[in-house]
């Protein structure tokens, strides 16, 4: 997507936008601005180490070095050595069991964190997230219908995407009908109404499901990474990485959106087109996550707040940080269930259990500042 297509006027350079943004309310050089770039850098390295560390968690004993050697072999385009320094059991555990699950958890968190930050930036509202505006519920309806009709993996994503898009369109349409535009309270209310409608639809479908589909549906709705395999990783990986790359490449435009629609338009941005593009990308990312691992709530709401505390409100840093923190959060919870609890507790349950106190803490710390009308 080029700037010319997004704007009707002569495009502004990214540098000029950054300078304009820097002169705005965020011009004060705080800690987050001085060290802001160090945070995503450290998070990137930390995420890689966390992924490798997660590969060592499980029933079968595995050292960090051994896991790293096997991963190197898997990603390096070379033939299997004649006498590899690992056993067949070890490479089986990594390639078939743990790596798909670790990747699935990482991609889910990455996508949800990024989507939450993108939605909050687009709507200039810290209270929105994929589950608040109804996109998760909409995608879940699509996914559950696809499951009921035994669709292929691509069909599940397609239907989940349609569900997510419809939910977002309904939320926006409802807010527009109330002549509220992107007013935070009206938007949230609209999201709650739309979400409730889709949740009722989910309940209806589940209540009518036969015994063959019901257990899978119920477990899926709680959010789980059980059964991760390469196909699932491809299902979530392609939309999340491709959609995420587009979101990342235009993240500086979020800074313009946060100045307000009028100012953004004055600066040469086609606000409506950009907004719909973001909605489509977020729906795609959330749909792929929901289609593969079910409803995983709270990540898209909580993680962007934590990211904002670390790197400030500049979306050039906020978006990557939220993505990486989301990956950390979900991967950490999945590791927690496997290593500490030692049982398959659905990750959707854990994100809610950990996410709710975190939101309460953030609300208390901020004394409610910025949580009111946008």
């Amino acid at each position: 997507m080029t700037e010319a297509t997004l704007s009707g006027k002569a495009p502004l350079s990214e540098n000029a936008i950054s300078q304009s943004f820097a002169r705005s309310s965020f011009s004060q050089r705080s800690f987050s601005q001085r060290h802001g770039w160090a945070v995503p850098t450290l998070l990137s390295l930390g995420m890689l180490l966390a992924m490798l560390g997660s590969l060592c968690i499980g029933v079968y004993p595995m050292t960090f070095g051994q896991a790293a050697r096997i991963v190197m072999h898997l990603v390096w385009p070379s033939a299997l050595p004649a006498n590899p320094p690992w056993t067949v059991k070890e490479i089986t555990v990594i390639q078939i069991v743990r790596l798909p699950r670790v990747l699935l958890a990482t991609l889910s968190g990455l996508g949800l964190g990024m989507s939450g930050a993108a939605l909050q930036g687009m709507m200039r509202n810290p209270l929105v997230g994929p589950d608040v505006v109804g996109v998760s519920s909409g995608a879940a309806v699509g996914g559950i219908l696809a499951m009921l009709w035994d669709f292929s993996p691509a069909g599940i994503i397609a239907l989940a995407f349609c569900g997510g898009m419809i939910a977002m369109a309904l939320t926006f349409g409802l807010a527009k009908l109330a002549h509220a535009g992107t007013d935070s309270m009206i938007m949230i209310l609209a999201g709650i109404f739309v979400g409730a409608l889709f949740v009722a639809m989910i309940s209806l479908i589940v209540s009518k499901a036969d015994d063959a589909h019901l257990p899978r549906m119920v477990y899926w709705m709680l959010g789980t990474f059980v059964g991760a395999d390469p196909k699932h990783v491809a299902m979530i990986g392609i939309p999340t990485l491709a959609g995420g790359a587009i979101l990342m490449s235009m993240r500086w435009r979020f800074n313009l959106l946060s100045l307000g629609d009028l100012d953004a338009q004055t600066l040469g941005l086609n606000v409506s087109l950009l907004r719909w593009l973001i909605i489509a990308l977020v729906s795609l990312i959330v749909a792929s996550q929901v289609a593969v691992s079910g409803l995983v709530g709270w990540v898209g709401l909580v993680v962007p707040h934590c990211a904002r505390m670390l790197v400030g409100p500049d979306h050039r840093r906020l978006l990557p940080t939220a993505a990486l923190l989301g990956a950390f959060f979900v991967l950490g919870l999945d590791d927690f269930t496997r290593a500490v609890i030692g049982a398959e507790i659905p990750v959707g349950v854990l994100t809610a259990l950990f996410g709710t106190p975190m939101v309460c803490f953030l609300l208390w710390k901020s004394h409610g500042k910025g949580w009111g009308r946008g």
Partner: protein, 395 residues
Amino acid sequence: MRRMLRVLARESLWLGPFLCIGVLSLGLFRALPHFPVPAHIRTVVDISGTPVRIALPFRGIVLAPNSFPATYLEDTRSPDLLLYAGNTDLRKWFAKGVMSWVYPQILSNKLWNDKLFRATSSPFTEIESLIAYDASVYAGCGGPPDLVRRVGLPVFNCGGSPAKMRRVPILMKGVGCGSAPNLRWAYYPEIYLFPTLRTYSALIGHAELAEPRIEAYCQVIDDLREELQPSTLTYRPRVLARAEEKGTLARAGLVDAEQRRYNPNDPEQLLAMDPDMIFLPQGSPREFDQDIRWQGLKAVRNRRVYRRPGLIEWWTAGVTFKPIETRWMAEVAHPDRLQPKVRQLLRDRMFAAFGYRLSDEQIDLQLHVAENSGAVGTERFTRNYQGAERPGPSK
């Protein structure tokens, strides 16, 4: 220039994690590792007709979570070959059944582990648990994952659908015990019991042990058929016996009252069905009688609600006990035609199959004598029952 490079590095920082995840994901699509074929092997065919290569010397059997240790023990009578039996939930069920009396050593903690096999139906997490053991064979009765087999692990399928089992006609030999079997669906319980017994016997290297036990099974069924003469029955009570095979009910001179889409949570459906008899798989029949909702049911008014005999594990009565359970149903429904033989049969079959003498208390427990006291026709199952019941119409 330096500043430009720095800006470029900052702006493309997000690309690093994205690329790493992408490259790692590609690693998943490399050729799967494959376990080497052991030098000495023995090949057996499992229930789906797949040959399984078992490493020799035999190192033992690991039962996957969806397998049933009591069925394994009943069919193989080889507790010493087990390396792993299941999780602690399964152990609770196992401890309630007959097999825990015969083989109390199986209750040892080392055979049951919650951390190893978690409560999940995922084949992928199971693989890790499976290969943590160095077993000669991994048995799974809920259809072990193809993936485990693809990596070269010796996976033995001990359960499956009739459609799959039809691929191996030799395993289905004798199903119906003389009656024409319908192999397309589970009309008779033997459709599961015989193939499992035959394949398990082959697995432990004693295939010849299966046929005498199948003959003994059919002998009890034949005796019942001869004594009951189901074709001459003028009255067949309609019974609600959840999940019971229709063939078993027909052998016992009963008719299944359950509708095709029966919902046990809807009390109106049971009231509309109004069966003549009810066989409860669990719970107290007397409590059922006292439930105000069921006071109008014919079965309750006539005191014909029973707790079915104890099963070896969950719903399965096994190849030793299923014919006895069938006889128990027939004796309850048609006492005028059948001599009371259930207690003696249970004692004899238990001794013949396992060399184990059941005490009177154990038989009472298995037949739920105390719980069924008060229901019509259950006196004959008590230990002090003497003479034959007075013949009379079974209506």
